[in-house]
Amino acid sequence: MQQTGLRAAGRSGASNTTTESRRIFREAQVRRLGLFVALAIALAPAALAQDAETEKAIEKYRAMLREDPWSNPGFLDADRGEALWTTKGGPKNASFEQCDLGKGPGKVEGAFAELPRYFADTNRVMDLETRLLWCRETLQGLSTADYVKRPHPGSGAPVKEIGAIATYVASKSAGQKFAAKLDAPQEREVLALGETLFNRRSGPFDFACATCHANSGLRIRLQGLPWLAEKKEASKVVGEWPAYRVSTTHVMTMQHRLFDCYWQMRMPELQMGSDASVALIAFLTKQAEGGEIAAPGLKR
């Protein structure tokens, strides 16, 4: 919290005490409202009126965040990620600072806006999280195979190391537009795979991503579903990941989002960094081309 405060102050150039205390008051206010929203979701009986109330509260929360974007609790994880980026660790006692996210070693600003992309050094198309896993392995000497055994936090736990760094990196493209070119032959192949997977039905429920995300304005129970097969709707929501989820009070990354979708689809555990996961993220990013990155976003 203090870190967020310091950063917010730095950003706005606010140094006098009055502004500072007003800002602290506002942050506390936003956090209280966040807690209310979380409680409302946790305690909500399945009732429409209640749900509308919750939606209204989340909308109010979003409005407050627009006034003071730095008070999104997701920035706590972005800050943690920034610290992890510069912290030496692993058998090689190295940090992530030499990690090349596509714009050169250590270049974080704007890197997320151009991912996923083809990397010649791995001869693979990689999304942000997959690339971070690779940097962790090559720079720090830590095993990816071990990490992906339990890649995502359990319920109630904060986002894990790669997720925190991903939140930090993504936040450094906030305000920019998705501009991954995805036009190299390898990238086009991955895009085609992503589109095929998006529509591929399997599992005991015969579900594909398209089962829930190929129409506008539909919902599961009361939860609205984005129409990801359509560029206009996709460009509004894809850029919000990694996102702070009010219902869990923690950040969730895009790899984790897909993992959870497949869980609901009655499929096995999606391997973080698998070609299928990268292909789907590439497809979604292409669908969201030109959409603004607003990471960390705020989700129900």
Binding site: A46, L48, L197, S202, Q223, P268, L270, Q271, S274, A276
Partner: protein, 201 residues
């Protein structure tokens, strides 16, 4: 450039290209779920009906649609006594439950649910319903509670593709999500005159 694009589009439209894509997808899916237990292998593949639905984006040609209907109709197992109506109260409970078949649902702690409310409106009392499927409010009443409609309802729940090829609804009986008894309970929820789906209570 336009010429290349035109070739690319022409290629993309050929069955050979589609097949190549789906083979790549099969390989990628197999690699993406290394933790899958051996008996989950069928979950990673698509049967012929699902392949046809995926390839046509769920809008199969007339011929394919007929082939799907015939194939899926043949999977339906009927109750031995031809009584399609169970207990609507049990039906309501399974309509509410989304439990079952997720990797966190093993070993099973309760019966699988049908999760009908995830996608359908049913009783008036339950306002938390999804809209992926059509509203089923007053389903039996609108069909005059006719015996033929009772049987058709059983068939639609057992295997939706027998009635609607490439339906988004799971094949609840054919894929062994629900038992015959459970499907009868769901039929009762929809078709019984006493069911709140029809009484409006």
């Amino acid at each position: 450039m336009h010429f290349i694009l035109a070739i690319a589009f022409a290629l993309a439209a050929t069955p050979a290209f589609a097949q190549q894509n789906s083979a790549a997808a099969d390989t990628a899916v197999k690699a993406a779920f290394p933790a899958a237990p051996a008996d989950w292998a069928p979950r990673l593949t698509s049967d012929e009906t699902m392949q046809q639905c995926s390839a046509s984006r769920n809008s199969p040609s007339k011929d394919v649609a007929q082939a799907i209907q015939k194939r899926e109709q043949a999977t339906i197992v009927y109750p031995p006594d031809n009584n399609f109506m169970g207990d609507w109260q049990k039906g309501e409970r399974l309509a509410q439950s989304g439990y079952g078949l997720r990797f966190t649902d093993y070993p099973p702690r309760q019966a699988n649910g049908g999760n009908c409310y995830a996608c359908h409106q049913l009783t008036k009392a339950e306002v938390s319903y999804g809209t992926l499927g059509p509203s089923l409010s007053e389903y039996g009443k609108l069909r005059d509670f006719k015996p033929d409609a009772v049987k058709a309802t059983y068939e639609k729940i057992y295997n939706s593709h027998a009635a609607f090829p490439c339906s988004t609804m799971p094949r609840l009986g054919a894929n062994k999500i629900l038992t015959i008894e459970q499907i009868k309970d769901a039929v009762a929820l929809l078709m019984s005159p006493e069911s709140p789906v029809n009484t409006g209570k």
